[in-house]
């Protein structure tokens, strides 16, 4: 793998999260414009993160909600807290 491609591969998540300094960020941006393979690799990673973030939280079953309250209220009454 080309050295510039390797650097990008290692720093791709930090680049995506905006956690790199301006200098390295600029170098990566220029490399992405010139290297279609790295651009494809970056887009696939970004897409993965986007779809993983997109799914909403699952609703908690009512019986679990009720059991938690019973346990906590018992503890409160017994002075455990």
């Amino acid at each position: 793998m080309h050295e510039e491609c390797r650097v990008l591969f290692e720093k791709m998540s930090e680049y995506l999260d905006g956690e790199l300094d301006a200098d390295l960020c600029g170098k990566i941006m220029s490399h992405l414009e010139a290297c279609p393979d790295c651009l494809n690799c970056f887009k696939s990673l970004k897409n993965t993160v986007d779809i993983c973030k997109r799914f909403p939280r699952e609703k908690m079953p009512k019986e679990i909600h009720a059991r938690l309250r019973t346990t906590l209220e018992d503890c409160m009454r017994k002075g455990t807290f």
Binding site: M1, H2, C5, R6, L8, F9, E10, M12, S13, E14, D17, E19, C35, P36, D37, C38, N40, C41, S44, L45, N47, T48, V49, I51, C52, K53, R54, F55, R57, E58, K59, M60, P61, I64, H65, R67, L68, R69, T71, L72, E73, C75, M76, T80, F81
Partner: protein, 198 residues
């Protein structure tokens, strides 16, 4: 939000059951989902959530709010996940090496990551994708799964995640990157396998 938590903590310390209920109401679904994503089972998720609240309320009187209540609860929950793994004698974490996640030929490999748009016609692919992501996340070694869930799902910053897990910010970045690459490869492999031969 933090002011509200501060007020709830103060009221709980004075013995308010209502304050306890408000704290539970605010964080139970978050912690339940975190437990489910970490362990993959509803029963384990319930245990983790319950253990988190029990431990939190036992120590809340001494909580000096040096960190946000939410972050403190997730620290307790992460420890509960570790304890559950130890009890179950799960396999020790394996390292994900960057070289193994890298294509030696370069970054030119094509990945099949479906687009789960909000179009109602995409329901089938969304349902499948949700299951594929959940299964792939379970195959991630736990140390990577924890970081991925805290950073990408719960939205904690790198610094907050490092503080919650008591690791360095560099470890958070390294683990997160490897977790994302692992998930990308797993998701792509699943959808590649599904495609009929041309």
């Amino acid at each position: 939000m933090e002011d509200y938590d501060h007020e709830l903590i103060a009221r709980f310390k004075k013995g308010s059951m209502t304050a306890m209920e408000k704290i539970v109401e605010k964080y139970e679904e978050m912690l339940f989902n975190f437990g489910k994503r970490m362990c993959g089972h509803t029963q384990d998720a319930e245990d983790i959530m319950q253990e988190t609240f029990l431990n939190a309320f036992k120590s809340l009187k001494d909580f000096r709010e040096e960190t946000k209540l939410k972050n403190w609860l997730f620290r307790i929950a992460a420890n509960a996940c570790y304890r559950k793994r130890r009890k179950k004698k799960d396999e020790p974490d394996r390292e994900l090496s960057l070289d193994a996640l890298m294509n030696p030929e370069g970054n030119g490999q094509k990945f099949d990551i479906p687009d789960a748009s909000n179009d109602p016609g995409e329901d089938l692919i969304r349902t499948e994708l949700k299951e594929v992501i959940a299964a792939a996340t379970q195959r991630l070694p736990a140390i990577y799964r924890l970081v991925f869930n805290l950073r990408d799902i719960e939205g904690f910053s790198t610094e907050e995640t490092a503080d919650i897990l008591d690791i360095t910010t560099q470890s958070v970045k390294t683990r997160l990157h490897r977790a994302r690459l692992f998930l990308r490869n797993e998701i792509s492999d699943h959808f590649k396998e599904e495609k009929p031969d041309a």
